[in-house]
């Protein structure tokens, strides 16, 4: 840029960068505090710190309730991410490749589940399932999580599918491919980064989701519900350890998704 910066503007830059650093500091400080306390032997969350200890991590390992809740969350998360990504892919494909009256309105309506507060969705589904006489279980949590995961997957994949030139699929048709063959062997591989991003994002959303799951399960707790119960009924420092583990693994998954999403621009097929 040809901008010549005056002295005042250079100071402005320094101030802005300082603000950015400060904000990032504030975002990560609480997480850091959890990490520090997770290695603190004291039972109470107060300064000064006591000795270094890994006893809370050992607790996570020993307490079968945590392991069980973790397993439930993984199970629901994997099922939700696979289903939502498959359904979202089909929906995104249809939205990009077809024309029908009311398409704009429909695509706006399909996104609304994301804009409805979780507590409202949770209560609505609880009442609905109750009315239908269904049991509350991990399966109802799965059904509940799909409501916001499908639109999420659909949005992610629609923006990728729009970038893929239609001529590539048409070429496959010319060579005799059926519709599903073109989808499976041409479109899906080209949309691969978005598929990975969608799998990871919907998994994380489901894995971390609390309030919908809270209203839809009865005996089988998911991890956020277990943590919540622990927070509400008398604090146990084991939560610090499990919290740190979750933060670390979420950040790793986030980094992977970011890398795979950024392949949008590098491994592109833009015409």
């Amino acid at each position: 840029m040809t901008l010549v910066r005056s002295r005042a503007e250079t100071w402005m830059d320094v101030l802005l960068l300082g603000g950015l650093a400060g904000f990032l500091g504030i975002l990560y400080l609480p997480l850091l505090v959890v990490g520090i306390f997770s290695f603190n032997s004291g039972r109470y969350q107060v300064l000064p710190l006591k000795e270094f200890s890994v006893q809370w991590y050992q607790n996570v390992w020993r307490d079968p309730a945590f392991g069980e809740a973790f397993g439930h969350s993984i199970l629901v998360g994997v099922a939700v991410s696979l289903t939502a990504t498959a359904v979202g892919f089909l929906g995104a494909y249809a939205l990009v490749h077809s024309h029908f009256p009311g398409k704009t309105v429909l695509s706006a309506l399909l996104v609304t589940p994301i804009a409805v507060p979780g507590i409202l969705l949770g209560i609505a589904l609880r009442v609905y399932f109750f009315r239908l006489g269904w049991q509350f279980s991990l399966f109802s949590v799965y059904l509940g999580h799909l409501v916001f995961s499908i639109p999420l997957a659909l949005l992610l994949m629609r923006s990728r599918l729009r970038q893929i030139p239609k001529s590539l699929e048409e070429a496959a048709w010319d060579l005799g491919a059926k519709r599903w063959q073109g989808m499976w062997r041409v479109v899906l591989p080209l949309a691969f980064p978005a598929v990975i991003a969608s799998l990871l994002l919907t998994f994380t959303f489901s894995f971390d989701e609390f309030i919908v799951a809270y209203f839809l399960t009865q005996f089988e707790q998911t991890l956020p519900i277990k943590i919540w119960a622990n927070l509400i009924t008398g604090f146990d420092p084991t939560v610090n350890a499990i919290g740190s583990l979750i933060v670390l693994s979420s950040l790793t998954l986030g980094a992977i998704a970011q890398v795979s999403l950024s392949k949008f621009s590098t491994r592109g097929v833009s015409s």
Binding site: L31, V116, L154, F210, G254
Partner: protein, 297 residues
């Protein structure tokens, strides 16, 4: 000309033999109809029913009784206004913080660092909302690290946990990220020659911000602020963990109506008020955002 150039294809097959693949939307639409539209619709309809006994045992006929009750009870009104106030305050503070943040990310940081810093800003999105809120709880506690530090420098312990200020803090951290991301996306797409042109015409930095960047950033602000409003208005987790359970917000009142007495019509009335408010805010914001985008594209 074009016909001459095309190679003869296996001509029995036209290029587009497949028709509209609209059927791909069937699973999505079917699912959302069954597990979103119907449940929400049923819940809203319950707000017009009278209870008979408990749960879903409704008396025949329809009534406005629950709405009359909602508007005549002071505690309901206060919960509602608290939620609205917290949501508006969150949007306002987040917007003020998000602008310098997005500006720094888009125009000040070196390009080589931009991706990494952007990731650092987004990354907390990926960690559990419950854990992030609980982390704030730990930091702000009466005898926690923040007050320990404040005590050492003599400002003394402050009672911030279990107040609306703590709720606002927790929600603003999230809202700032959300708005800054949306602002960054629009700021980054501003062609650099717009700014060069402004500079050539003698605009100082703040002038080019107000006259070029700010007007172009409004669609991003609209979407980011709307998402933040919805999140802050409907959230249950932060007000409970950081705000405490005493001065209830709308989401907590809704939770109470279901889990303490399973009073479905009452919870449904709260839900209807929540949805009506979100709709009232969303429609004008989305219409304005859309019209602005059209003007500029």
């Amino acid at each position: 000309m074009r016909a001459a150039l095309t190679t003869p294809s296996p001509s029995t097959q036209p290029t587009q033999p497949m028709g509209n693949p609209w059927w791909g939307l069937l699973p999505t639409c079917g699912y959302l109809l069954l597990f979103f539209a119907l449940p929400v619709g049923y819940l809203l309809s319950a707000s017009f029913r009278a209870t008979q006994g408990t749960g879903l045992d409704f008396a025949p006929g329809w009534t406005l009784e629950h709405y009359r009750e909602f508007f005549s009870s002071a505690s309901n009104g206060i919960s509602y206004l608290r939620s609205l106030g917290i949501a508006l305050a969150t949007v306002a503070t987040s917007t003020l913080l998000a602008y310098p943040l997005a500006y720094a990310l888009a125009f000040v940081v070196p390009k080589s660092q931009q991706k990494f810093l952007l990731f650092c800003t987004v990354a907390p999105f990926w960690t559990s909302f419950v854990i992030r809120s609980f982390a704030w709880q730990l930091l702000l506690a009466k005898r926690g690290p923040l007050n320990g530090l404040l005590g050492k420098i003599g400002i003394g312990p402050i009672e911030i946990l279990y107040t609306h200020a703590a709720t606002l803090l927790g929600l603003t951290a999230f809202g700032t990220m959300l708005i800054a991301l949306n602002l960054f996306a629009v700021m980054e797409s501003i062609p650099p020659n717009y700014l060069d042109a402004a500079a050539d015409l003698g605009a100082r930095r703040w002038q080019s911000f107000w006259t070029v960047i700010f007007p172009l950033s409004l669609p991003g602000l609209g979407i980011g602020a709307l998402l933040t409003f919805i999140l802050a208005f409907g959230d249950y987790i932060v007000p409970t963990l950081l705000g405490g359970g005493l001065r209830t917000v709308l989401a907590q009142a809704m939770h109470g109506a279901i889990s303490t007495s399973f009073n479905v019509p009452r919870a449904a009335t709260y839900a209807a008020m929540m949805l009506a408010t979100i709709l009232t805010v969303s429609v004008p914001v989305l219409v304005l955002t859309r019209s602005r985008q059209e003007v500029h594209s």
